[in-house]
Symmetry: C2
Subunit: 416 residues, 2 copies
């Protein structure tokens, strides 16, 4: 990387290494939300935010905010950010790269002497990952005013979520949706293999795919595995095997059409699960990610038709799939996407449009602001694992794209 | 049933009802080996054995034996029997029917004033079912001299198996194979649907099928279910689904050829079993029942070939199937089978030859004696469940067949 960047790859590397060092030493790289390690990480970030000329505070939702006022008091805010919490063993880049890059953009603007019309805010969102309380995106939901009140009573490790938010400095009783944010930008590792496979620098995210969870239960009959002839069985496992393959086939067909689509049988339990008994029951939980709502409908219609045939052919009962949860896709803002594309061109980053199969804070920020995301490549698409890796040069190029996009948005948003 | 039987259907019903009443009241019908209820059941049986003119004792292996001496001291023994212990919730007929029928044959012979050349013994074998100690056929293995010594140290519910055998009156240190038993006969419910389906009274068992257990492990790759494109996955569950269907297909083909064959994927576990992660690993345990050893070989060869193709097509690793246990089939004695066929003809019982897919005490008695079994129909093939049911008339007809077979064997064996 010989480009003359406005951002410092070395500072980015130093910040990522410093945060990686703040880990449970027995299981790198672990810094879960609400833990003392998490507060140590935030203390490091706060120091760096201040050194970058940002005023810091913890907002009511528990997010760490670094802020620099803009020239135009009425212009509102451009926010950059991601999260510094991790899953257990969770990797050094997931979330962290986005926070560090946001910080570096603030430093780069300061060093270049660039003043913006808009306020600039850098955010470290609280508890993006599923935390000890079993829920995700606590901070971004709170900032968008849609963190469910009933979550506050959830208990884990001797505290409630409300007490956890207070521990980090938030005020859980005061949930107010922000209405001053004009644009939100987040950089994240792709957590998939597409950019690496296509040797691209940047993915401009078109949408955070919807996540739909569907439960399927197959009911057969428990028979003696020794005495029941093969043609007299109602084997729930054999029927469920057909279901698993139907899910894979239907999803493969939809994945080959425009727009992100994936379906996974992620949970699979069988009863009685005894060596000498023909399986009587199987429960499956499907995880379905769809960028286009039509694809989800087509999948579920096709699946129901398959299930009828499988039930008939195997002599088992399969109830209609039960919708366990359904969060539709969240499209990113067209103006922001165009700006990010243009910023890629200016910085010479090879880029493509792509949906995000994973959830991100940007999905909640999109409810209150024009939101956009860029992905950078990660090694073999690995994430949520110790071996997660992103090249520092790729992160630095992403920072350069974001800095360019901020400058462009600062102008464009004034014209809107 | 208007035949003039030498056995009493009413007495059989009374015995079965009396034993059914000796159950854990909260979960009928439960009378597990080594429990106080089990000893109550045995006390009932011992009283009935004595009333039938049998001398009773507990042998060193812990079996309850009722004995009537024959006319010819050198002729040896004809033994009838089964087991009175049950699985949890385990049914009123599995084992019990065989013990009660053996007792009724002794009563029938006594009432008819028939003296045998051979000694007659009625046996209630100890712990045929998998007991709290996790092993089966403790009493019949002991009588055959092949109960593994290392089993004696197994502990459960505050006692060792050795102490359990002592509790019921056995002498675990003195394991001696019997060598005086000339023939062993056992009646048992079929525990399958064949006789009921074909409207037959009796199945003359040709062999206790072999039981082979094989473990298959599929190793794929854990990927993010949202971000990993469908065509970039190594989904262990999808591959395992193909394995399950291959097992079903191969077994179905062999089941359609002469000789009992069945294969069941009875255990199935998946990792990480998390909704949003592509499955990385599946472990399956196959239960394979084969009357003919060649069928087992053909199945395993066919399976290995399928696994290679499945691994290749799905981008996963499947190690060669691991043999967890392998107990070959135990054929029943030809002379005994012919005698049982003839006894069916004499008593007017509609009969067929068939293998036993389940294990029985007869499989161990066959190591030290000419052994044979008859099956009687049971409702819908259900067993090891509260709804297990056999018609009393069917049990009584079975007793009649056994009584006739004993008379015939008493003569035939003297000619051998």
């Amino acid at each position: 990387m010989s480009r003359n960047l406005a951002v410092s790859a070395a500072r980015i590397a130093a910040d990522i290494d410093a945060l990686a060092a703040i880990t449970d030493p027995g299981r790198p790289w672990t810094r879960r939300a609400f833990s003392d390690l998490f507060l140590q990480g935030r203390a490091y970030l706060e120091t760096q935010f201040r050194a970058a000329g940002l005023e810091t505070h913890i907002d009511t939702a528990g997010n760490l905010i670094g802020r620099r006022a803009g020239r135009n008091a009425k212009a509102g805010t451009i926010m950059l950010g991601s999260h510094s919490d991790t899953v257990p063993d969770g990797g050094r880049f997931d979330g962290v790269a986005g926070v560090v890059v946001a910080l570096e953009v603030a430093r780069g603007l300061k060093e270049a002497g660039i003043e913006l019309e808009h306020n600039l805010e850098v955010a470290d969102f609280l508890a993006e990952e599923v935390s000890i309380f079993g829920v995700s995106c606590v901070g971004s939901r709170g900032m968008a005013g849609i963190r469910p009140d009933e979550w506050l009573g959830r208990e884990a490790e001797g505290m409630t979520l409300a007490e956890g938010i207070e521990k980090v400095g938030g005020k859980p009783a005061l949930q107010i949706a922000r209405d001053d944010i004009r644009a939100f930008l987040e950089l994240h590792i792709e957590q998939g293999p597409v950019l690496e496979g296509e040797k691209l620098d940047i993915g401009v995210v078109t949408a955070i795919a919807g996540i739909t969870r569907v439960e399927i239960i197959v009911e057969g009959r428990a028979d003696h595995a020794g005495t029941t002839p093969m043609d007299r069985r109602a084997d729930a496992l054999a029927a469920a095997a057909h279901v698993v393959l139907a899910v894979e086939t239907l999803a493969g067909e939809l994945a080959a059409t425009p727009g992100h689509f994936a379906a996974t049988t992620g949970e699979f339990e069988m009863w009685p699960n005894a060596a000498n008994v023909v399986p009587s029951k199987v429960r499956m939980l499907l995880d379905i990610r769809s960028e286009h709502r039509d694809d989800l409908g087509e999948f579920l219609t096709g699946l129901e038709s398959c299930l009828e045939g499988i039930a008939r052919d195997n002599g088992v009962a399969i109830a209609a799939p039960r919708l366990v949860s359904d969060n539709p896709a969240m499209p990113m803002d067209p103006l922001v996407m165009e700006t990010l594309d243009a910023a890629c061109e200016t910085t010479g980053a090879a880029h493509r449009r792509m949906a995000s199969g994973a959830g991100h804070d940007a999905a909640f920020m999109a409810r209150i602001a024009r939101a956009g995301m860029i992905f950078i490549p990660c090694l073999s698409g690995r994430s949520h694992a110790p071996e997660e890796w992103a090249e520092n040069a790729d992160i630095a190029l992403g920072a350069e794209v974001l800095l360019e996009a901020v400058k462009r948005l600062d102008t464009k948003l004034m014209e809107q």
